[in-house]
Amino acid sequence: MPLADWLDRRTGWRSLAARARADLSRPVPRHVNALFALGTVAGTFLAVQVATGVLLLFHYRASADAAHGSLEALLSEVPSGWFVRSLHAWGAHLFVATLLLHMARVFVYGGYKRPRELTWILGSVLLLLGLGFAFTGSVLPWDQRAYWATTVGTRMAEAAPLVGEELLRLVRGGEEVGEATLGRMFALHVAVLPLALLPVLGAHLWLVRRLGVSTLEDADVEERVGHARLCEGGEPFFPHHVLQEAFVANLALGLLFLLAILAPAGLGPRADPLETPPGVRPEWYFLPVYQLQKYMPRSLLGIEGNTLGFLASIPPVLLLLALPFLDRSPARAPSRRKGAMALGLLVLGLGGALGVLGYLSNRTVQAFGRTFVFDDRGFPERAAGPATEPR
């Protein structure tokens, strides 16, 4: 190919490609299975978010006056606008879900241990950035749900000790959620967070390539014997493992497309600061934290309950970031890490339970032919007689 030759003489891409190919065909450990594709799935969803996000930007207007109308126009007039928006909305849910699953995979296989502590920490930062994307994005449609979920969500800043009020005003850009809130959330969502995510993701992936996927051997054995020797006999990363990843990513994309087509994202009535709709609650990934606040005592040792709730949500984050240094045992195989597995299940159970309680709170549910009214804490108030028409 004359063009390829022409380019090669100027760029030397052939030798670069040969080196990349040699590096990429290094084998992966033999225990690697489809779960190890979850990182790639997260990356795939991220790519979809970037692509659809740019398309949404073509039409979206970031002002309290125009935001809702611009999305209405996108949904009713722009060809396939509904599809792009639905991909972005569902993609956000699936991205967060995939991050949590990827994290769980790494946790179970001990992938965070020596020498991959930094990979885990960068990953934790990616999770926090991902949640930041989800939070800042949720206000942008400027419909009732967006407005009031953000009102509830930002109110958490008020519970910060000492600087609560100032923090709330900083987050909202004023006393109430309004034009200024939309402006800053938009800037964070489309400029600050992407710029922050990119280098962190780059470093994460670079470390993953440099250190290779962890084996199931103990950390000290891996260090002593060497990663490459332990991987001998495993299938090459490229093309064999990449094909497995492509397979899983393909299924994940299919799921995203089907969800976007079969359950397209809707748009509620325009935000109205004077009318609180019933049943406002944060998205599912924030529900556990939201619900936790409700169980705080009114005050403890002179600290207010809200502040306690705020403080209570800091240790889990620190724990997440510091995990590789808190769990220093070299064992990786889950069968020899009973304590860690129990802790993982406990966190999963607690988070799940809080999420379910948060989902049920202030809801009337018809089940088993009866009506259950759940109070603010998610407990059934009264199991009143036979089912009546839902209100």
């Binding site: 639905s86 299919g254 397209p264």
Partner: protein, 276 residues
């Protein structure tokens, strides 16, 4: 429509009413509002029950609000003095001004003047005033016109039918819009149009009370055409949404085919690999 007496033109209503106070206003001729009306109930408990069962149950100025009179007296004669009105047509007009005005200006106004009919109550009944609905046009006309003008009875019946059809067109359009919204379609403008049509019907009611039924019916028909086109638009949106869902099959098939192709390629690669 609500508020003090503002009707113009030397209408006979105005003459009769003699400045009737609107809702909540105080008639200087009757007792202050603080005086309980319980004394009226000594004799008129049935009427009070009827009011409570009708469309006016929520009105605040009870007996004296419409009838005037002196509720602080137990004496029958004294209780019924002080601008007392047995059949308070003017009280209806205080809120339903446009309808009353149209009524007085139409053919029924003449009958009212000659005392052949008693006014609103003739069709809408007394204390237990029902929520007005189209059925009235079927039942009330024949009270007077069954024998002397059967064509009027017929015209009332047809008008009622027209209104029924309009109501069901409005309801069908609203249902279709709900359904479209459930499928994430944007229907705000259609909803606003439908709401305007509903209000449009209310605005037509004076015309109906003037018994000008032909123009009224053509206006009702125009509203119905609008409601029906809104319904058709919602149906088209739903239809298009259904077509979108058929895409899902195509996407599913593509995903499955691609997945199979990838698996196949991986299998052939793995099979060609020398075993360690």
């Amino acid at each position: 429509m609500r508020g003090g007496p503002t009707w113009g033109g030397g209408l006979l209503l105005a003459a009769l009413a003699g400045g009737f106070p609107g809702r909540g206003a105080q008639d200087p001729g009757s007792a202050p509002a603080s005086v309980p009306v319980e004394r009226c109930l000594e004799c008129h408990a049935g009427a009070a029950r009827d009011v409570a069962s009708g469309a006016h149950a929520a009105l605040e100025n009870r007996c004296t609000g419409c009838h005037g009179g002196n509720p602080s007296s137990f004496d029958e004669r004294r209780a019924h003095t002080g601008k007392f009105r047995a059949v308070p047509l003017s009280a209806c007009a205080a809120c339903h001004e446009a309808e009353a005005e149209a009524f007085a200006g139409g053919p029924h106004g003449v009958a009212f003047e000659t005392k052949a009919i008693r006014g609103c109550v003739e069709c809408h009944s007394f204390h237990a005033v029902p929520r007005p609905d189209h059925a009235l046009l079927r039942s009330s006309c024949r009270i007077c016109h069954e024998t002397n003008a059967p064509e009027i009875v017929e015209s009332g019946r047809q008008t009622a039918d027209d209104l029924d059809r309009l109501e069901s067109a409005l309801a069908a359009a609203a249902r279709a819009l709900d359904e479209a919204e459930r499928r994430a379609r944007i229907v705000r403008r259609e909803r606003e149009g439908l709401e305007a049509d509903r209000l449009g019907l209310l605005a037509l009611l004076p015309k109906q009370h003037a018994m000008d039924l032909e123009p009224f019916r053509s206006d009702v028909a125009a509203l119905r055409a609008r409601a029906e086109s809104t319904g058709a638009r919602a149906a088209a949106l739903l239809e298009e949404t259904g077509r979108r869902r058929r895409w899902a099959w195509l996407v599913g098939a593509l995903v499955a085919a691609n997945a199979l192709a990838i698996l196949w390629r991986r299998r052939t690669l793995l099979a060609a690999r020398p075993h360690p």
